[in-house]
C-alpha cells in the first residue's frame, strides 16, 4: 500500500515479496510495474463481464477513438502505400520482376506494415490521449466525483475505453490496409499503364487466407494493449499535473514497445502453425 493510492476505486496492492529487495532497483520497478499492469488487466476481465454494461459509453468512446482517428490513419497509410511502391519498384525493375510489385506490396502491407503502422499511430494518438485524459481526471478529482455519485469509475472509464480500442484498432487497420493498397495502385499508375482491375486482381491473387487472418487477429491484441496501457498509466497517475504529462508519455512508450513485442510473438505463433 503506497500513500494515498489506496482509494477504494483502486484495489489494494498485495505486499511485495521479500526477495524483491535483493534485486537492483530497475528490475524491482519493472517487476512491480508488470505485476500491477497484470492485476489491472485482470480487473478489466473481471469487471467487463459483470453488469451493468456501459453500452452508450462504449459507443461514444468508439466514435472518439475510431472515427476521430480515420483521417490520421488514412493519410499515413496512403503515404506508406505510395512510398513503399516507389521505393521497391526500381529494384524489381532491375530484376525484371515489375509484375510482382502488387503481390510484394500487398503481402508486406497486409501481413506486417499495415497492422503495425496503424497500431503505432494509435499508440501515439489514442494511448497518449487516454493516458492524459485519465491522468487529468484523477488530478482534478473527477474519478472520485464519479465514485461518490454511485458510479464504478473503473467500469465507466477503463472498461469502456479498453473495449473500444480493442474493437476499433482492427477496423482502422483494415481500413488502413485498403487505403495503403490504393496508394500503391496510384504510385504504380504514375509509372506505367495499369488498370485498377489488373492491379487489384494481382493483389488478391497473391494473398492467402493465412496472410489476412493472423494479421487481423493480432490487431485485436494491439488494440487491447494500447487501451490497457493508456488506462493503466492515466488511472494511476501521480504527482499532480506533472504526472499527467508523464502518464501520457509513458503510455505511448510502453504501448509502442508492447506492440513490437506482441508482433514478435505473433510471428512466432504463425511460423509455428506453418503460415509463413
Amino acid at each position: 500500500m503506497k500513500g494515498k493510492k489506496e482509494q477504494t476505486n483502486q484495489r489494494a496492492t498485495p505486499k511485495e515479496p521479500f526477495w524483491l529487495s535483493f534485486l537492483p532497483a530497475g528490475v524491482q520497478d519493472f517487476l512491480v510495474e508488470t505485476g500491477d499492469t497484470t492485476r489491472f488487466a485482470g480487473r478489466f476481465f473481471q469487471e467487463a463481464f459483470l453488469p451493468p454494461y456501459e453500452f452508450k459509453e462504449i459507443v461514444r468512446q468508439s466514435y472518439e477513438i475510431g472515427y476521430k482517428s480515420l483521417s490520421l490513419v488514412g493519410t499515413t497509410a496512403f503515404i506508406i502505400g505510395v512510398v513503399l511502391t516507389l521505393q521497391s519498384r526500381p529494384t524489381l525493375v532491375r530484376f525484371g520482376a515489375e509484375a510482382w510489385l502488387p503481390a510484394m506490396v500487398s503481402v508486406s502491407i497486409i501481413r506486417e506494415i499495415g497492422p503495425v503502422l496503424v497500431a503505432l499511430i494509435c499508440a501515439g494518438k489514442i494511448g497518449s490521449g487516454i493516458g492524459a485524459e485519465l491522468g487529468s481526471m484523477k488530478v482534478t478529482e473527477q474519478i472520485d466525483a464519479m465514485e461518490v455519485s454511485g458510479t464504478n469509475p473503473f467500469k465507466y472509464i477503463v472498461v469502456t475505453r479498453i473495449i473500444s480500442t480493442t474493437l476499433m484498432i482492427p477496423l482502422l487497420a483494415i481500413m488502413g490496409d485498403g487505403i495503403a493498397l490504393y496508394g500503391s495502385f496510384l504510385a504504380v499508375k504514375t509509372k506505367g499503364a495499369v488498370s485498377a482491375t489488373l492491379f487489384f486482381h494481382q493483389v488478391f491473387q497473391n494473398l492467402d487466407f493465412s496472410d489476412v487472418l493472423p494479421a487481423i487477429i493480432k490487431t485485436f491484441f494491439f488494440g487491447f494493449v494500447i487501451g490497457l496501457i493508456g488506462c493503466y498509466k492515466g488511472y494511476n497517475s501521480k504527482n499532480g499535473t506533472e504526472g499527467v504529462g508523464q502518464s501520457a508519455n509513458s503510455a505511448v512508450v510502453v504501448a509502442s514497445l508492447l506492440v513490437f513485442v506482441l508482433d514478435l510473438i505473433a510471428v512466432q505463433i504463425t511460423a509455428f502453425f506453418g503460415y509463413i
Binding site: 477504494t8 478529482e141 472520485d144 466525483a145 464519479m146 465514485e147 461518490v148 454511485g150
Partner: protein, 264 residues
C-alpha cells in the same frame, strides 16, 4: 459526551438544538505509511447542523471527509453515517448511502467532457429514482437557477470561471437532494467577493433543502458565516470546538492563530 481525548480546550458541545446524530466518529485513525494523519479523531454531527472543520493545510481535513464518504478506508476507530458503520457496508449499500450525501470537491471536479446539463444529469442517471425525463429536466433547471447559472446550462466546464465552476459543483451535489453535504474547501482560490457569495449560497441551500453539512475550510469569513459549530483539527484530533465567538475569545495560542486576522 466527551468527544476529545486530549487536553484540548473544548469550549462548547451544544447539540441539543439539532436533530438526531447523523455522523458519529469515534477514535478514528488513518495513516499513509509513516504519516499519521488522523490519530484519534472524535466528532458527532446532528441533523440540521453546519460544522466547519478548521486546520492547517495537510492536517487531514480532506482525508476525514473522504473517509466519511468511503473514498478512503480508515485504519481504526468507528465511523457511522446515518447509523451505519462505513467499513461494514457492501458496495451497493455504500452507493445507496452516497446518494444521501452531496460532496463538493475543492477542484469542483466537473466532468470535462460533458456540458453543464450533462454534469447535473450524470448522478441522476446513475442512481435509481422515480423521476420522468420532464421532471429531471425541471430539477436540473431548478438547481441551476438556485445557483444563478441557468444560462450556462449548455456550456462546457472549460468555458466557466472558477466561481461558476464552484456553483455548478454545488448544484450537481444538490441534484440528488442529499441530507448531508460535505464541502472540501469550497472558497479556496476565489476572490473575497466570490468567496462570500459561495458561502452565502451554501447557507441559503442549507436552509432551503434542510441539509446538514461539514465544511472543510481555512477561510474564516466562510466559517463565520456558515458554521453553527467550529472544530479545530490539530495533530489528527479535534483539538477544540465551539461557536465562532467562543473560539475567537479562548486563550489558547494554537486556536488563536486561526483567528488572528479576524481581530485586526
Amino acid at each position: 459526551m466527551t468527544e476529545t481525548q486530549n487536553t484540548a480546550p473544548v469550549v462548547n458541545q451544544r447539540t441539543s438544538e439539532f436533530g438526531e446524530p447523523i455522523i458519529e466518529i469515534s477514535h478514528l485513525q488513518k495513516s499513509f505509511g509513516e504519516n499519521h494523519v488522523l490519530t484519534d479523531f472524535n466528532l458527532t454531527i446532528r441533523r440540521g447542523e453546519n460544522v466547519v472543520v478548521l486546520g492547517k493545510s495537510g492536517c487531514g481535513k480532506s482525508v476525514l471527509i473522504k473517509c466519511i464518504v468511503g473514498l478512503l478506508k480508515y485504519d481504526a476507530g468507528t465511523l457511522k453515517v446515518f447509523g451505519k458503520e462505513i467499513k461494514d457496508l457492501k458496495h451497493k449499500e455504500l452507493d445507496h448511502m452516497r446518494a444521501r450525501i452531496g460532496f463538493v470537491f475543492q477542484s469542483s471536479a466537473l466532468y470535462d467532457s460533458m456540458t453543464v446539463r450533462e454534469n447535473l444529469e450524470f448522478p441522476l442517471r446513475r442512481q435509481k429514482h422515480n423521476k420522468t425525463k420532464q421532471e429531471v429536466k425541471k430539477l436540473i433547471e431548478e438547481m441551476l437557477d438556485n445557483v444563478g447559472l441557468l444560462y450556462a446550462i449548455n456550456l462546457m466546464p472549460s468555458e466557466l470561471s472558477g466561481g461558476m465552476r464552484k456553483r455548478i459543483g454545488l448544484a450537481r451535489s444538490l441534484v440528488l437532494e442529499p441530507e448531508l453535504m460535505l464541502y472540501d474547501e469550497p472558497t479556496t482560490g476565489l476572490d473575497p467577493i466570490t468567496a462570500k457569495e459561495i458561502s452565502r449560497l451554501m447557507l441559503e441551500m442549507q436552509r432551503k433543502y434542510n441539509t446538514s453539512s461539514i465544511i472543510i475550510s481555512h477561510d474564516m469569513d466562510c466559517a463565520k458565516l456558515t458554521a453553527n459549530r467550529l472544530v479545530v483539527m490539530i495533530d489528527g484530533v479535534n483539538y477544540a470546538q465551539g461557536t465562532f465567538e467562543e473560539l475567537n475569545h479562548i486563550n489558547d495560542p494554537k486556536v488563536h492563530a486561526f483567528f488572528e486576522n479576524q481581530q485586526i
